[in-house]
């Protein structure tokens, strides 16, 4: 028995070659992987997730739970649904989750061991001992369970596209096309979205409709598509799947730009459409569901409408003599299709009573002499990696039939996924035995089978009525059918097993290998809420999200709980509707486009001089400079630090945030935002200042330059600048709108250089011979403006290293020129460039803090001994009141101290804990008393030993005491002495020299 080709105009006659698991097969252009494999009589395509059971192609679309494959020729793309992925010449495909081969899979031993793998197996079994989960269980489970392997060497070129429309029609099937017709040449901007490469839906997938308005379906589709295409207000998107329905009619749809084509490495393969619409029309149809019976997962079992879709849509008859098993009237269409092709089903099994079965079915079966079982069901099927024998129960008698394929129809579910994502309410419909949309929450209209209307004759009226709220045209439809107009169904979710075998299973979720027995067990164990049950059994949690089975499981569970289905409720439908590639979500925001890189005007010089960069916010800052090939970071930093304290060094500080504060009330504003007192400050002086949160904790620091009472410039940390500006704006707009102050970010308007070291003055005098840099003329924390060549510069006497230092501000246009000029002048004084790491080391030697290193959002200025920065006589500033809260007044708060090792060779590491024990016990049973942590730790080349800054409980009162610091990988701790955090020049002689 083998597949035969059917004439089909959706498939081209062009033959192409594909490979599956290394073997080459013939396919037609337009085939999906599944239709190509069926054409070649391949029924076994994969192994299941947990039990490694052989699996075949179950459906013909997005709902596929089994046929997931790996596409080797597309950077190893895993878990691709064979039923929707289109083939192209040279496509390389492999099966998944099997070793060594698909036919002989070692993991199939899980099926034999399956009695122990029941619901909740992982939770119950992999409990202890400690460490086993991480080292043994998890790697083991990850290797044996699961699906494809991750892609390699993948760089996506996906793009995003935005739409603003009046109407979106989801689904280009019969209902969608009729709806679109109503909008032809209207004032509405309409987007018609179809997941397939052809419009038509049920019209091209089945034999149900004979004629529409006198035309055969194909002609009607072409005619309608042409009309829609010619209407300027309607855009058609094909190969596009709506995956997400968010609030305020925001939809996300994924377009496959390479459907049926080899991926072009220079073009986007996916487009993510982000759509805002005023009205959404959901017409994405229905999904057939299966029925649970013994071994309902064997390759060869397929949904009836999918079987029919392969014949009409892809021109392949998977099998000439299948058995048909149904509980409803829809399978007549398949029966008639097979007969018209000269095929003859082996048997027709209908669970409905003979009287309830349509006379036309009975007539055909009788005429063609086909075995007919009414009021009967499939007990199960058996076979080795495929369906061989099918057992039918009719009353108390059992019949066995040999057939390689079994077509199953358990009824149809309106595809309510998107509707429930939109927060619409659904309601159980007893006539179709499924949930259908009831009350929409947004401007959502459901049409056709999505709305639970399975009656073709009523379709036109439904569409005309539901769209009457919009100004559209009236459409007339005259539909002639091949099938009965009335839908009839008998409730059947699971058939009774004749014998119980440990290896035969009746599945409820094919993707995640959940059996109906698992559902029963979970309920017995008390998981009787549907959301709990879902998570405990993993039912409907696979990549198919239980599209063909979730309603069945609700029904089975409701029977077990003796409740109505609507009482049991559904699990939550969450986006995406179908798996959505991360590449599509990321779009162009990958690699260098992920986040902007900000570079200073000196960047090219840094590159030339072998700077190693550090990311600070979005900025690229030199971390340290390499002077020779093998110089390590430690060596470079030690060299830079020593050279600076002996001679001079220069740092590119352009990244520091700069905010201009101007206006009538600038002084009052600065006084409110910062802790310090600015009123008595003289113009053209500057001050180190701190900004707190309302909770009293330090948020940011910087130097405030006062030009006048109406004009200040505040510097901020490099990464804190946007937040500080936003916070200032917030207070100005919301709390103090009466203050007349204007803020402006001027970070990028200036290149800033920090030059410091004992020889700085000599260098400055050489670069700027006309300026008096003497202590009297240019004291510490003052600044002046000067003309320099054709521009202006501002020089400020300030330092972050503890040495004599100046900061130079110049427009970036001339930044590099000046930087180079300083170097040519500084050469004779051994001026060096230094990076952020040396800056951190030098400031730690001096006991200066860094925001985010010593502070972590729980530190007040008092904790740092920075009481001098607090303007106590100011009536108010942000955070002032909080400095006297009971918590901030505690004596045992963590406070800043210095650490000096008692044995000068010991190294104090950043992040280590400070404890009272000289040695940690080998096995820690009781908590060890923790005093604090090392916030900064460096080897000081100037003191020639390790130093540390630490935040220690009650640290201010512990000066001179001995404690211990833990060390990486050792139980022996390092003895340290608590010292003043200022290690170098506590009298500030160097600073003010």
């Amino acid at each position: 028995m083998s597949a035969i080709n059917n004439n089909c105009e959706y498939i081209s006659k062009k033959q192409i070659k594909i490979t599956f698991d290394g073997k080459t097969y013939q396919a037609y252009e337009g085939d999906t992987i599944a239709s190509a494999l069926l054409r070649n009589n391949i029924r076994l395509v994969g192994r299941s997730f947990k039990y490694h059971r052989p699996r075949g192609i179950y459906t013909c679309g997005i709902e596929e739970p089994n046929a997931l494959v790996q596409i080797i020729s597309e950077h190893n793309e895993p878990n691709t649904r064979a039923t929707i992925k289109r083939v192209y010449d040279g496509m390389e495909i492999t099966s998944q989750n099997r070793w060594p081969s698909l036919r002989y899979d070692f993991g199939a031993i899980n099926n034999i061991l399956s009695p122990i793998f029941s619901a909740g197996f992982y939770y119950k079994t992999f409990m202890g001992p400690k460490g086993f989960w991480k080292n043994i269980y998890e790697p083991l489970i990850r290797r044996s369970a699961g699906l494809g392997k991750p892609p390699k060497n993948f760089r996506s070129k996906s793009t995003h596209q935005y739409h603003n429309t009046d109407v979106v029609i989801i689904g280009g099937g019969l209902s969608g096309l009729v709806a679109a017709k109503k909008f032809i040449n209207t004032k509405y901007k309409v987007l018609l979205i179809e997941q397939d490469s052809y419009l038509g839906g049920i019209l091209k997938n089945s034999n149900k409709v004979k004629t529409i308005n006198g035309l055969i379906p194909q002609e009607w589709i072409s005619e309608t598509e042409e009309q829609i295409f010619n209407s300027k207000n309607i855009t058609i998107l094909k190969n596009t799947l709506v995956t997400t329905y968010n609030f305020t009619n925001h939809l996300i749809a994924l377009e496959d730009k390479c459907a049926g084509k080899k991926i072009d490495l220079n073009k986007p393969e996916l487009t993510l459409h982000k759509i805002r619409t005023s009205n959404t029309i959901i017409a994405n149809g229905h999904i057939e569901r299966f029925i649970s019976f013994r071994n309902n997962d064997l390759p060869g079992v397929m949904l009836a409408s999918s079987f029919e879709k392969y014949i009409h849509r892809y021109g392949v008859v998977p099998e000439k003599e299948p058995v048909i098993f149904t509980n409803n009237s829809s399978s007549l269409s398949l029966l008639k299709t097979l007969i018209s092709l000269g095929c003859k089903p082996k048997a027709y099994v209908d669970s409905r009573k003979k009287d309830n079965i349509e006379t036309e079915i009975k007539k055909i079966l009788k005429e063609k002499d086909i075995l007919f079982f009414s009021d009967a069901e499939i007990e199960g099927c058996d076979g080795n990696k495929k369906v061989e024998t099918i057992t039918i129960r009719q009353g108390k008698t059992f019949s066995k039939i040999k057939s390689p394929m079994l077509c199953v129809s358990g009824g149809y579910n309106p595809d309510i996924h998107l509707f429930t994502q939109s927060k619409g309410l659904v309601k159980w419909d007893k006539n179709i035995l499924s949930f259908k949309p009831d009350t929409p929450f947004q401007k959502t209209i459901t049409l056709g089978s999505t709305s639970g209307n399975y009656n073709f004759k009523k379709l036109c009226d439904e569409i005309n009525e539901k769209l009457s709220i919009l100004k559209t045209k009236k459409v007339l439809l005259d539909i002639n059918l091949n099938v009965p107009n009335k839908f009839s169904i008998k409730e059947l979710w699971e058939t009774k097993k004749k014998r119980i075998s440990r290896w035969s299973k009746s599945f409820i979720d094919l993707h995640n290998d959940v059996t109906t027995k698992d559902l029963r067990q979970a309920i017995t164990e008390g998981f009787d809420r549907i959301e709990h049950l879902k998570r405990y059994t993993t039912n409907s949690m696979g990549t198919d999200q239980g599209k063909i089975s979730s309603i069945n499981s609700l029904a089975i569970v409701s029977k077990m709980l003796k409740k109505e289905i609507s009482e049991v409720g559904t699990t939550t439908y969450r986006p995406p509707y179908a798996p959505l590639s991360f590449a599509a979500i990321a779009g162009r925001s990958t690699y260098e486009f992920y986040d902007p890189e900000r570079k200073t005007s000196i960047h090219s010089w840094h590159l030339k001089n072998n700077a190693i960069f550090e990311d600070v916010g979005q900025w690229k800052r030199p971390w340290y400079f390499k002077t020779y090939e093998n110089e390590t970071m430690h060596q470079a930093v030690q060299r830079e630090s020593k050279m600076l304290r002996e001679n001079a060094g220069i740092l590119d500080g352009s990244t520091l945030g700069k905010i201009e504060i101007k206006g009538r009330d600038a002084l009052e504003f600065v006084n409110l935002m910062y802790t310090n007192a600015f009123s008595k400050m003289k113009p053209m002086t500057s001050r180190y200042a701190m900004m707190l949160g309302e909770d009293g904790m330090i948020k940011d620091d910087g130097i405030i330059c006062k030009i006048s009472d109406q004009h200040f410039i505040a510097t901020t940390t490099s990464s804190g600048a946007p937040k500080v500006l936003a916070d200032m704006e917030e207070y100005l707009q919301t709390e103090w709108p009466h203050l007349q102050v204007y803020l402006n970010s001027i970070t990028e308007q200036f290149s800033t250089f920090n030059i410091s070291g004992p020889k700085t003055r000599e260098i400055m005098m050489k670069v700027f011979p006309d300026i008096d840099f003497s202590n009297d003329a240019f004291p510490f924390m003052t600044f002046k403006n000067f003309d320099y060549k054709e521009t202006k510069i501002r020089i400020m006497r300030a330092s972050f290293t503890g040495e004599l230092g100046y900061e130079i501000y110049i427009t970036p246009k001339f930044g590099l020129d000046l930087w180079e000029e300083i170097f040519s002048c500084g050469k004779e004084f051994n001026l060096i460039p230094y990076g952020t790491e040396t800056m951190h080391l030098l400031r730690a030697e001096k006991g200066y803090i860094v925001i985010g290193q010593e502070t972590d959002g729980t530190v007040t200025p008092i904790d740092l001994n920075y009481n001098w920065m607090i303007g106590k006589n100011k009536k108010d500033f942000i955070g002032k009141r909080s400095l006297s809260r009971p918590d901030t007044s505690r004596e045992d708060r963590k406070q800043l101290v210095g650490l000096s090792p008692i044995n000068k060779k010991d190294i104090i590491e950043e992040g280590q804990h400070i404890v009272e024990l000289n040695e940690l016990p080998k096995k820690i049973t009781n908590p060890i008393k923790y005093l604090g942590h090392v916030s900064s730790g460096y080897h000081s080349p100037n003191l020639n030993h390790s130093i540390g800054l630490a935040m220690i409980r009650g640290g201010k009162n512990l000066l001179g005491q001995k404690f211990f610091v833990t060390a990486t990988g050792k139980t022996k701790n390092i003895p340290v002495e608590i010292v003043n955090p200022v290690f170098i020049d506590p009298e500030n002689k160097r600073l003010t020299s």
Partner: protein, 116 residues
């Protein structure tokens, strides 16, 4: 992702805005005169209702202006947008709006997608 109507620029995507938490929490004029408890309530305590909520937003990737909005936190509908200096709209203005997408109770969450 919801749409927010900036009172200065018009309707824009949520991604252009930053939420600023509860609105109408006024910074006390004389913090020093407040008890620890009262000051603590100003700094740390905010309402988090299910339902109608007065909140602040800033059009951070736009005009950078702060404004107030009344949002139903259970349906995410923005019921009113007004400038900082405008009067706080009355709670009773919104009492007749939809309480929740699926009629679930006023406290707690859960899945109530099925109509009984």
């Amino acid at each position: 992702m919801i749409l927010i109507k900036c009172p200065y620029c018009g309707e824009r995507d949520q991604s252009e805005f930053t939420s600023g938490g509860e609105a109408h929490v006024v910074r006390p004029k004389n913090p020093d005169s407040l008890s620890d408890k009262d000051w603590g309530e100003y700094v740390f305590y905010r309402n988090n209702p299910k339902g109608i909520f007065y909140e602040r937003w800033v059009h951070s990737h736009g005009c950078k202006k702060w404004f107030n909005a009344v949002r139903n936190t259970s349906t995410d509908q923005i019921l009113k947008v007004y400038k900082v200096n405008e009067k706080r709209p009355d709670f009773s203005d919104f009492e007749n709006t939809l309480k929740s997408p699926s009629g679930e109770p006023s406290v707690g969450s859960g899945n109530f997608a099925v109509k009984k």
